[in-house]
């Protein structure tokens, strides 16, 4: 009978950012803790450890997931991408560049999760997935344009307590616009830009009122 005490540790090989890491893990160890405390990949953040904030978002087999609820032992065999693996060498991913240029963060702690999530949002949208704010989810309706409202809903699993949401959404829109696969996203980004102007984005003081576009020029 297997009721004898089971082993509570396993040797696992984790495929992270294209590199294989072999280590022995306590089965209790989450992927998040394995990354942060065993592999010195501290870019993935621990905000709540309960799947309630999104700070630990990583990509598992190219899909976004929260690393805090993913046991490390159960992640063996999966392709894991963390924030450290998003850029191509020294060249930032377009999402990273847009966050940097448009100030899509403040304290920076939720940022790796927001960026990993945004990378996946653009993929999910390109795959035609609807969201909770998509009017008509039937496939015949076609994929919804990636409007600011769509971006907000899709990014809602990533809390930002600093309240950098406005510039995060602008950054995601810009990165989507630069994504070659779909013309609709560019249109949506234009919508985001237009919406920015509804209350007049220009500063009341010329020199001090550079808007987001100016900031990134």
């Amino acid at each position: 009978m297997a009721t004898a005490s089971p082993s509570t540790y396993s040797a696992v090989t984790l495929n992270i950012n294209g590199e294989k890491h072999t280590l022995t893990v306590d089965h209790r160890t989450t992927l998040l803790d394995a990354l942060r405390e065993r592999l010195d990949l501290t870019g993935t953040k621990k905000g709540c450890d309960q799947g309630q904030c999104g700070a630990c978002t990583v990509l598992l087999d190219k899909r976004r997931a929260v690393a805090c609820l993913q046991l490390a032992v159960a992640a063996e065999g999966r392709e894991i991408t963390t924030i450290e693996g998003v850029a191509e060498g020294d060249r930032l991913h377009p999402v990273q560049q847009a966050f940097l240029d448009l100030d899509g963060y403040q304290c920076g702690y939720c940022t790796p999760g927001q960026i990993c999530s945004a990378v996946a949002v653009i993929e999910e949208h390109a795959a035609g997935w609807p969201s909770a704010v998509t009017d008509d989810v039937r496939p015949e309706a076609g994929p919804p344009p990636l409007t600011p409202e769509e971006i907000r809903e899709r990014m809602s699993g990533n809390l930002c307590r600093c309240g950098a949401y406005v510039s995060i959404v602008q950054a995601v829109a810009r990165a989507a616009e630069n994504d070659a696969r779909t013309g609709r996203t560019a249109e949506a980004a234009q919508d985001a830009h237009d919406a920015q102007g509804t209350q007049g984005a220009q500063g009341a003081q010329g020199a001090q009122g550079a808007n987001h576009e100016g900031a990134a020029a």
Partner: protein
């Protein structure tokens, strides 16, 4: 979190055997609920049998023309599936209204149906809870309960079932299929969850050792015109305080067929059969919708701070059925 063993099952018989061998073992699906509950000490399994790699991740057409959804299909794949979106749009909407993109990528259909209540007393091992520790009491009844049940609860437990997906499945007569070491079985979702009574810790009618293998949706032409609406305390990434899955077929101004299920108001997704009965054959209009809602909600037994849910559900029935009527006649 207690130390535990871990095994990854590769086929259904293997999974059943691993579970059968250890009374302290639990199946692990996406882990979005179980791992959280293990961290908070609510669940303390001695062994996990990981079923995510089982070949149960397909969505296909059943013999009767309905849909067969594998137990390990992720919420994301379910929501994105063209047949689901075309034939059961409320199911896609319900899934997309739940959790976040990250969690939907991890969570599985089988796990979703087995997720535990989000009652804050249940989730906190320092507090009493009849569901977690039978006989310890239900502090919600005298304490915080503004998001607790108004239908089908008991003096022993007033917790709600948190699933969105389950509400849509309930409206569409879903049947849960499972395997046990003794052979397969099935349960209509409306009979899957046990009444609360004085045993709130006993939640489902699944036999011991059973593994959910999938969910079958019978053909339901009415579901093509369906909608899920969820009300919550922020615009996204929050559990419902009230939700509704509705499908409506109106012919010549008369309700030919209607499906209604409520979420976040009971210990299970609540099929509103009294409302459906009151509506079938009635003229499609706000007055009939309200009367039907009242017929269902006559059974409501609100606590001092959750009576608003009765108003909310009544309003949701009227609003969503009115929208569906309007769209049908457009």
């Amino acid at each position: 979190m207690r130390e535990f063993g871990y095994e990854r099952a590769l086929d259904v018989p293997g999974a059943l055997a691993l579970l059968d061998a250890d009374p302290d073992a639990r199946f692990l699906g996406g882990g979005t609920n179980l791992v959280d509950l293990m961290k908070t000490g609510v669940e303390r399994p001695g062994r996990l049998v990981d079923v995510r790699d089982l070949p149960l991740d397909g969505i296909g057409t059943a013999e009767d023309g309905g849909l067969r959804i594998g137990a390990t299909v992720t919420n994301s794949d379910l929501a994105a599936h063209p047949e689901v979106r075309r034939r059961y749009p409320a199911l896609t909407q319900a899934v997309l209204a739940g959790a976040s993109g990250q969690l939907r990528n991890m969570a599985t259909v089988g796990g979703n149906l087995l997720q535990r209540t989000r009652c804050g007393y249940f989730a906190d091992v320092t507090k009493p809870c009849n569901k977690r520790v039978p006989g310890s009491g239900c502090p919600a009844i005298e304490g915080e309960h503004h998001n607790h049940a108004v239908l089908g609860a008991s003096g022993h437990c007033v917790a709600t079932h948190p699933s969105d997906l389950g509400v849509a499945l309930t409206a569409f007569d879903a049947v849960v299929t499972y395997e046990t070491p003794g052979g397969p079985g099935e349960l209509p979702l409306t009979e899957f969850y046990l009444p609360v009574g004085d045993t709130p810790h006993l939640e489902t009618a699944l036999p011991p050792g059973a593994l959910i293998t999938g969910v079958t949706l019978p053909p339901a032409p009415v579901a093509a015109a369906s909608r899920y609406r969820k009300v919550r305390e922020r615009a996204s990434y929050a559990f419902a305080i009230g939700s509704i899955a509705a499908a409506l077929d109106v012919r010549d101004g008369v309700v030919h067929e209607v499906r209604l299920a409520f979420g976040a108001v009971a210990s299970r997704p609540w099929r509103a059969r009294a409302a459906e009965a009151a509506l079938t054959g009635a003229p499609a209009g706000a007055a009939a919708f309200a009367a039907a809602a009242d017929a269902e909600l006559a059974a409501a037994r609100p606590l001092p701070h959750n009576g608003y849910k009765v108003t909310l559900m009544r309003n949701l029935v009227v609003a969503v059925l009115s929208e569906l009527t309007e769209e049908a006649t457009r």
